[in-house]
Subunit: 227 residues, 2 copies
Amino acid sequence: MDGHGPVAAEAAGASKPYRKRKGEGHERREEILAAARSVFVAEGYEHATIRKIAAKAGVSSTALYLYFPDKDAILLEICDKAFGKLVARFEAIRNDGGTLVERLRRLMEAYLRFGLAHPDEYRLIFMTKQAIPMPFDHRTGADMPQGTPGANGAKAFAGLRDLVSALIQDGTLKGEDPNLMAEVIWASGHGLVSLLITMPTFHWSPVDQLIPAMIDAQLNGVLRKAG
Amino acid sequence: MDGHGPVAAEAAGASKPYRKRKGEGHERREEILAAARSVFVAEGYEHATIRKIAAKAGVSSTALYLYFPDKDAILLEICDKAFGKLVARFEAIRNDGGTLVERLRRLMEAYLRFGLAHPDEYRLIFMTKQAIPMPFDHRTGADMPQGTPGANGAKAFAGLRDLVSALIQDGTLKGEDPNLMAEVIWASGHGLVSLLITMPTFHWSPVDQLIPAMIDAQLNGVLRKAG
DNA sequence: CGCTAACCTGATCAATGATAACTTAAACGC
DNA sequence: GCGTTTAAGTTATCATTGATCAGGTTAGCG
């Protein structure tokens, strides 16, 4: 009992087929992802080991390598799916009512709250040395192949950048280069999220003061007249 | 030859004493720190293993545990020393000439450039899940015991906070709570540094545009009139 | 000399990510 | 039915990692 080996498929009673039918490996893949997800959110990145995930999925640890090249690929896929929700949220906000400035404000708040609500995913996507390839060239706008890990992270940035671009064009926002300004805005938001995640023991001001303070400071600093 | 064991003390020729005299263990401690530093900056945090450090120091891997409780303690001490330079820099800037606003601007730029110049140290202090204890209560101002790991990181923040406090008192800076405003300013700077470190493959605008853009945005957003 | 405490080592552990070689059963052709 | 192929999984095993343990050696003192 060393962590290897399959777990009795279904606790008690009749045994279910312990192996997928031919051509249905993708189901096992999904099961592994689900198991990985639960281990990952429960124990965090570092403690989500291959063996724990395998045990939870009811397969041997090696089975994971049939469906994923390595551990990072599994967790990255989970995180990228989580970011899919943020992208959807961004899309909704961009097509929302209200002025462009109001939308930018909501976008920033959505980003901050999302990061704080999913700290492990956020950390894996935006705070690990294993820099996500980011094969998406947001400068030329060339789309990256769908399904690429990190695609949703890049999409989210593109959403911000497009909104910033519109604000520059109608003269509301200072500066000329939408990429530069979007990078600055992103960085300031990222700074708050990542510091709060990394240093929970620091004596922070209440988050509900920090979030508007950060957004106000950025908007005031970046808009031609107070937002 | 498994990575254990002492390395021939001095490549060729007469052997030097392979053991420190009694009462001179602190020298060995310094040698280990120096070896750790060189491995750390050369190979980065993850690849700075106990065994590599020990080999470079010319002692067995076990010897490291005579002087440090664990691996993190070694690297943290190195990083904290590096941050000592930043603190000194901050102190110099705060006692500098120029207006308070000019000092704040220089402080921010110094922080950004320091982080980008020492990415591995920066990462270990401010970007690892192993949240530094931060036993320093910057709210009450109670000093933490000297030598505590992370002390210099906390000191640096205190330096920023005090400058912000002075700016609020003389009416130049918006807001009321110096801690809140300092946290916002810190976070925005940290965001830029950490993103640049984490995602080197992203198509960033040139750093020499990003740094002033970020500083201008923050200062404009946070000062009562444009800085 | 002989003792003691500081200094340092080799052997070893448990956990981790990953690979190689082998087994089992499902599907297909006949 | 019956063999063959091959997807699906397993067991055994590696190398590496941080860390501990029990012991050995030597400096320095009385």
